[in-house]
Point group: C2
Chain length 496, copies 2
């Protein structure tokens, strides 16, 4: 097989390398043909699944995470896909490529290159099922938005305001004739991949939702074998995208067909077949404090294969508790959406949406946006994408700028009192957010022996006003007595 | 003792009759002399404690609850106070006198004459310790306010903004020289009584707080014997005021000296020595959902001597749960106050204060107002009374009018969804409050076979707009898509 020696490729670190080969097209190549490749960097070997892409084409993708020379060799149960070899020269990443996002400092996130990542997410569940024109419009809107991660589904959505048919499906077949769950539809996957790449090009992470309950096609109630096959195929095709996060489900607890054991199994499959160990989470419907009669329980985010807690809950006050409970990053992925929908989850004010962000963030958690305004053509950002109409995104951008200027936040030893959400790094930095509480002044119990400067931040009007003087120990701060104020308290750097 | 036959008096039903007599002034009449009277209406006998009023004067008070002829005879351990007799002619109450307030229909209140009482309370903890001028000003403010019950303390308050000395004390002695806890100060009690009577004249109930923790005088840490003597004396002097409610404590759980057994004993003393069984409650500091690390528990409002739950909690969402838990009226006596204080309990907006009222009331609970604006002379309504500065009282009046026009509210079989607070009487009347949720329309699952009219209520702007047409079964209602709206849904009365 001297041919293989000629296969020399180049890709950047955390780029996506794809090797393609011709193979059998008869029978069912999706299930009959095993195809993978072993990528080797000296003594390290990474084995990655390949996939059948239709028309006798096979592909295998690889996201290298170190620079230098890699070699690879394919593995298959058919001769023509066995032992294909090549070398891969991994070069420095282009600007903007910082690698996949990882958990950082227990409760936070950072790109693999070490740059902190402060997620400010939004929700467009099935924007990728709305046709080229709407999808391009959504990308355009995203490019002008603060959002750096998006919650989106593999499968189409059936629900109020969501009755259109998608242009294509993940499997061969049709709703009328039934699905051949053993045969994937490569065009569908290529489209999904294109959209994930579009997001990557915008610097946006894709929190890809693998299952969800809002379904009229049967994708929420496939057999266990189909679910597992689907996950393996998704891993093979998608895990080489550095901007992928795996969300096992939106509102898993509304999927009556699935058991906790199923969810455990899905997590383990992803853990086993995503060579890059992208972030993994699962998102609940039920909120114990709202549906207090319910005896449902959340999936245990403490399980080892869960990298961060993805939570639906309207009360951000619990972020501190969840951090302590799970000892992982907490992302409140649904806290109700800015809008005026008939549904309670979609009719909060922009003020409240922004308040959720600040309240969660000040406690060292993260919060996700959504928007649900009644629209004459039922084009609603939360599901379809399109354009943004609300008043919260620019304020979320303002907050994101402040986050990027400061350290990752955690609980402080200073008691800023229960009517404020506060976090920081003790004796260095504090962010204290008052929400709808509106004190006319405040006595702050700052540490003795450290001098601080304080900025008064109007989180709604997006102004930052440095307070005169320096502050130390127990000190009084005059405040405007109106809602949505925050204090940024920063240790004064002493000259040297 | 023919003298007794000459003692013929007249009072109105639920009025306050007082019989006075001369007796010993030597020794300690407060503890040495027992004095009571037995009031008899045919076979019914009500024995009521009398009290020493200083200067050799003894009094015994009685609030008759039935019309007609009553006779009475005094009982004492000293001869000159023994066997004094008289008759009491009880006549119909004057307009405005509806008797004491009782629990009605398990979860509600009504005057003893059957008129529903919808408490809209306020808080002026020590308005009665501020001197004549301020106290008259407070009464004037109350007369122009919506409030029909006030939370107020027997003892003075020591706390931020509360450092003045009261004009008089409940006991003989002084802070410097110490108190004689076995001797009461009749002038102090006469003043308190005058203020309770002033409230009664305004049609306002007095929710009298018997103990509280904010103390520099020692009244929060008296001996058990003193506590019990104090309660007996208070019962003897005050229980004949028809507008009295007993609140055992403000924030009982901050009074470290007292045990749960103490609170039980106080309740039982009041139960035994208040002949009229005025309403009894106890008020917490700790909120489990806010101070979630705490292992404190609430006093069990389910105990038989507690007539209604008096709760401090910032989240009105739990009203339904508390109703079910205690099976008694729920009054959220502190849900934070309208104002701009440095303290979290005193810096919410008027919008939020009004929201608390509507949210609690729609669930069939009751809510209490308070106001805490920073003031150049530290005159703050919550503690001192004075004048009202906020924007909530007129909206509370608006709500009270609506409550009085409708029935007492309970949970309904209709699911108006979790983003609304709703209550009613099934198939007759529903009140649905949306708070900061702001749907642009709503699909209501009204009963079939009943026709309803619907009013759109803007609870902030205080407008009531009848919606066109009649409504039945599942129906769509257009709404303005802005916060603080409610729907009043009333069965259409058919002519006959």
């Amino acid at each position: 097989m001297t041919q293989a020696l000629e296969n020399t490729f180049e890709t950047e670190r955390w780029g996506r390398f794809e090797f393609r080969a011709k193979g059998p097209s008869g029978g069912n190549p999706f299930t009959d043909v095993q195809f993978s490749a072993r990528f080797r960097d000296r003594h390290r070997v990474v084995e990655v699944d390949g996939f059948y892409d239709g028309a006798g084409e096979y592909g295998v993708r690889f996201m290298p995470d170190t620079l230098g020379h890699w070699s690879f060799e394919t593995v298959s149960n058919v001769p023509e896909l066995t032992g294909l070899k090549g070398t891969l020269e991994v070069v420095a990443p282009a600007p903007g490529n910082r690698g996949p996002v990882r958990v950082d400092q227990v409760y936070h996130f950072a790109y693999e290159d070490g740059t902190p990542f402060y997620p400010v997410g939004t929700t467009c569940y099935v924007w990728n099922h709305q046709g080229a024109e709407r999808e391009e419009q959504t990308l355009q809107s995203l490019s002008q938005s603060p959002f750096n991660i998006i919650r989106m589904c593999v499968f189409p959505k059936h629900y109020d305001y969501n009755h259109n048919e998608p242009g294509h499906y993940a499997f061969e077949g049709s709703l009328e004739k039934g699905w051949d769950f053993a045969r994937f539809n490569p065009a569908y996957w290529a489209h999904l991949e294109r959209r994930i790449q579009d997001l990557q090009d915008l610097g946006i992470e894709a929190d890809l939702i693998l299952f969800h309950p809002y379904d009229r096609w049967g994708f929420s109630a496939m057999s266990r074998e189909t679910d597992d096959l689907y996950l393996r195929y998704a891993m093979a095709r998608l895990s080489s995208f550095r901007n992928i996060w795996w969300s096992l489900a939106n509102e898993y607890d509304l999927m009556a067909e699935k058991t906790m054991q199923d969810w455990d199994r899905y997590f383990r499959i992803i853990q086993a077949f995503d060579p890059y160990q992208h972030l993994r989470s699962i998102h609940n419907w039920h909120s114990p404090e709202i549906h207090y009669r319910s005896n449902r329980h959340w999936y245990d985010h403490g399980k080892p294969w869960v990298t961060h807690a993805s939570i639906q809950h309207a009360d951000l006050h619990f972020v501190t508790e969840w951090r302590e409970q799970f000892r992982k990053p907490v992302v409140v992925d649904e806290c109700r959406y800015e809008g005026n929908l008939n549904h309670g989850w979609g009719n909060i004010t922009a003020e409240r949406m922004v308040e959720c962000f600040w309240e969660g963030m000040a406690q060292g958690g993260y919060v996700t946006h959504g928007e649900t305004f009644v629209h004459p053509e039922d084009i609603i950002w939360w599901s379809h994408g399109g354009t943004l109409h609300g008043e919260s995104p620019e304020r979320i951008q303002f907050l994101h700028n402040i986050m990027q200027e400061g350290p990752q936040l955690g609980p402080t030893g200073i008691n800023f009192k229960w009517d404020a959400a506060a976090g920081g790094v003790d004796s260095e930095y504090y962010l204290v957010y008052f929400g709808t509480s509106r004190p006319a002044f405040r006595v702050l119990p700052l540490p003795e022996g450290v001098r601080f400067s304080i900025d008064l931040i109007d989180t709604w009007n997006m102004t930052i006003t440095p307070l005169e003087g320096q502050f130390e120990g127990t000190c009084r701060v005059e405040m405007p007595g109106k809602p949505y104020q925050a204090l940024r308290i920063t240790k004064v750097k002493t000259g040297g």
